[in-house]
C-alpha cells in the first residue's frame, strides 16, 4: 500500500500555490501589465456543473491566475438537519449530493447507527452495498457523459444517459423514487426489496460491461479526447494528499487508497474487487480510474446479487425502528412505539462520531454530535467535491483556457455538495 513519503516542508517541490493554497496568483511582474485580462467564468456557465464561479486572469489563452468562488448553491442543509428529528434528517442527506444520493444517505445512517450501537441485518448490509455501487456507476456515467459533452463529444452523453436511465429505473423499482430515494433507514432498509428487482438488476449487470466497452471504443483512442485530456491538470501524489484529495482524483495521482478496502465498511471485505490506480495524475488518468471503477462496481453488484442473504431487512429494535404495519392493529405496545417514533423521533445517545465512506467522488465523511435528544446537535458533511475544488489552482497552473473546462470537469464536482 502506498504511503506518502515524509515531507519536511509542505511547500518544497510542490505545485501548490503559496501563500494561499487555493488561489493561483498572477506573477508579480505581470500584475500591472495591460495584457492580463480578468474574466468571470460562471457562475452560470454550462460547463461548470452547476454554479461554480472561477475568476480567471488570462494572458492570451494562458491561465495566469485563478480563484474559485463557491457558495451560490448554499442551502443550509446542516442547519436544517439540526431542526429535524434524526429519522427525518435522513431525507436531507441524499439531496446534498444529487448524483451520489445513496452514498450520502448511507454515511448519515451509518453514523447514527454507530452512535446507537445498532446491529444491522446482513440482508440490509448487502443491499446497501449493491445500491451504493449502482449509485457509483450512475454518478460516473453522469460524469462521463457531461465531461465528454464539454469537450464536444455529444454522442457520449446520449449513450451514458441511456445506461443511467436503466439504473434510475432500478432505483425506482426498489425504492419508488428515481433520485433521492431515502431507502436506507436507521437499522436497515425502509422496505424489503421487491421480487422483480433481482431479474432486472441481473439484466443490467449483463448489459453494463458491454456498454462500458462501447464508451471506451468511442473515446479511448479518440485523437481529440487524448489531446484534450493527456498531460493536463497535473496533480502529483504528494500534492493530492496535501490538498486532501480523495477518490478517483487521488487514485489518478498514483495513490493506492480506497476506503472500501482500507476501512472496509458494509460487506466490502467479503467481495472481490480491484482498486484501479494510475500514476500520471492528469485528466486522462482520472478518466481511466472512473471507467475501471465502473467495471469493478458491476462486479460487486454481480457478486451481491448472487450472494444476497435472506432474512430480515431491518433491525428488530422497537425503540428505533418502526414496528411492522400489521402489528399496529393488534399490539398496544407497537402502537405506542410507532407513535413515539413518528411524533417525537427516537433518541440517540450523547456523543460524537465521524464516519467516512468512499462515495463516487471520494471520502464522504459525516460528523455527527448528539446531546442525547431526538434531534442532531450538529451534522457536518465532509464533502469530497468541496475539497476537490481546492485543487483547481494547483491543477490549473500552466493551463490554457480551453483546458480549464477539461480540468474542472475531471475533478467531478457536484455543486450541491460543495455548497451544502
Amino acid at each position: 500500500m502506498a504511503i506518502a513519503p515524509e515531507r519536511p516542508h509542505i511547500y518544497e517541490g510542490t505545485r501548490i500555490p503559496s501563500p494561499i493554497p487555493t488561489v493561483l496568483q498572477v506573477p508579480p511582474d505581470l500584475r500591472s501589465s495591460e495584457d492580463v485580462l480578468r474574466i468571470n467564468f460562471g457562475p452560470n456557465h454550462p460547463s461548470t456543473h452547476g454554479v461554480l464561479r472561477l475568476v480567471v486572469d488570462l494572458h492570451g489563452e494562458e491561465v495566469l491566475g485563478l480563484a474559485a468562488v463557491v457558495g451560490y448553491l448554499h442551502t443550509g442543509f446542516e442547519k436544517n438537519m439540526e431542526q429535524k428529528s434524526w429519522w427525518k434528517a435522513i431525507t436531507y442527506a441524499p439531496r446534498i449530493d444529487y448524483l451520489a444520493f445513496q452514498n450520502n444517505e448511507l454515511v448519515f445512517v451509518l453514523a447514527v447507527e454507530k452512535m446507537l450501537g445498532l446491529e444491522v441485518p446482513a440482508r440490509a448490509t448487502w443491499m446497501r452495498m449493491l445500491l451504493a455501487e449502482l449509485n457509483r456507476i450512475h454518478s460516473h456515467l453522469v460524469w462521463l457523459g457531461t465531461a465528454a459533452l464539454e469537450l464536444g463529444a455529444i454522442s457520449m452523453f446520449w449513450y451514458c444517459f441511456r445506461e443511467r436511465d436503466r439504473i434510475l429505473d432500478l432505483f425506482e423499482l426498489v425504492a419508488g423514487y428515481r433520485m433521492h430515494t431515502r431507502y436506507f433507514q436507521v437499522g436497515g432498509l425502509a422496505e424489503d426489496v421487491p421480487p422483480g428487482f433481482w431479474d432486472e438488476c441481473a439484466k443490467f449487470v449483463e448489459v453494463m460491461p458491454k456498454a462500458i466497452d462501447d464508451y471506451e471504443s468511442l473515446v479511448n483512442r479518440n485523437e481529440i479526447w487524448l489531446e484534450r485530456t493527456q498531460g493536463l491538470g497535473l496533480l502529483s501524489a504528494d500534492d493530492a494528499i496535501a490538498l486532501g484529495q480523495s477518490g478517483p482524483v487521488l487514485r489518478g495521482s498514483g495513490v493506492d487508497w480506497d476506503l472500501r478496502r482500507a476501512e472496509s465498511y458494509l460487506a466490502y471485505d467479503q467481495v472481490d474487487f480491484r482498486v484501479p490506480v494510475y500514476q500520471e495524475g492528469d485528466v486522462y488518468a482520472r478518466y481511466r480510474v472512473r471507467m475501471e471503477e465502473m467495471r469493478e462496481s458491476v462486479r460487486i453488484v454481480d457478486q451481491a446479487l448472487r450472494r444476497m442473504p435472506g432474512g430480515p431487512w431491518i433491525a428488530d429494535d422497537r425503540k428505533v425502528v418502526l414496528p411492522p404495519r400489521e402489528e399496529l392493529h393488534t399490539s398496544m405496545e407497537s402502537l405506542i412505539h410507532h407513535f413515539k417514533i413518528v411524533t417525537e423521533g427516537f433518541r440517540v445517545p450523547e456523543g460524537e462520531v465521524y464516519v467516512a465512506v468512499e462515495s463516487p467522488r471520494g471520502e464522504l465523511g459525516c460528523y455527527v454530535v448528539s446531546d442525547g435528544g431526538p434531534k442532531p446537535w450538529r451534522v457536518k458533511f465532509r464533502a469530497p467535491s468541496f475539497v476537490a475544488l481546492e485543487a483547481t489552482a494547483t491543477a490549473m497552473s500552466n493551463a490554457l483556457i480551453a483546458d480549464m473546462i477539461a480540468i474542472v470537469g475531471s475533478l467531478d464536482t457536484v455543486m450541491g455538495e460543495v455548497d451544502r
Partner: protein, 154 residues
C-alpha cells in the same frame, strides 16, 4: 497547537486532514435529556427506557469546539480526532501551513461560526455572501429570520 499538528503529521504519519468541523455548544444540556441511557458501547438494552428527564449531557469546556479529523494513508487507516475548544471571540492558529486542504475548511468555519484563524492567508466568507451579517450555524442565529426582499409590499 500547530506544533501538535506538525507532530501528528510528521512523527505519527497523519498526513491527510479528512475534515475540520466546528460545533457550537451554546445551550448544550439546557433542555435536559430524556429517553434511554446510552453507554460508550452503544445502547444498553437492559436499561429501562423511560421518558422524562434523566440526566444532562456532559458539560463542555468552551462554547465552540473544532474537530480535526486526521487520517493516515497507511495500513489499517488509523484515524485521530484532534479537538480544540474556543470561547466566543477567541481565535485558533491556522493549520493551512500543515495541511493546505484546511484552507477552505477554516474559511467555512469562519463563515458559519465566526471562529477566527490566526495566520490564515485568506480568511473570508466562502459559502455566504461577502456582506452577510452573522454566522448561520451558530445556535443563536435564528431560523427563518432573514428579511424577504421583493415581497410585493413597498
Amino acid at each position: 497547537m500547530v506544533d501538535a499538528a506538525l507532530h501528528l503529521r510528521d512523527e505519527l504519519g497523519f498526513n491527510f486532514l479528512s475534515d475540520l468541523a466546528a460545533t457550537d455548544y451554546l445551550g448544550w444540556g439546557k433542555a435536559g435529556v430524556s429517553g434511554y441511557i446510552g453507554t460508550p458501547a452503544g445502547r444498553d438494552l437492559n436499561e429501562p427506557s423511560t421518558q422524562g428527564y434523566q440526566r444532562l449531557p456532559v458539560e463542555k469546556p468552551q462554547r465552540f469546539s473544532i474537530s480535526y479529523h486526521l487520517l493516515a494513508l497507511s495500513e489499517g487507516a488509523p484515524r485521530v480526532r484532534l479537538q480544540v475548544w474556543v470561547g466566543d471571540g477567541q481565535s485558533v492558529p491556522s493549520v493551512v501551513g500543515v495541511w493546505p486542504t484546511a484552507d477552505w475548511f477554516e474559511r467555512e468555519a469562519w463563515d458559519m461560526f465566526g471562529i477566527a484563524f490566526d495566520g490564515h492567508p485568506n480568511l473570508s466568507r466562502i459559502l455566504m455572501d461577502d456582506d452577510w451579517e452573522g454566522h448561520p450555524l451558530r445556535k443563536d442565529y435564528p431560523i427563518g429570520g432573514e428579511p424577504v426582499r421583493f415581497s410585493g409590499e413597498e
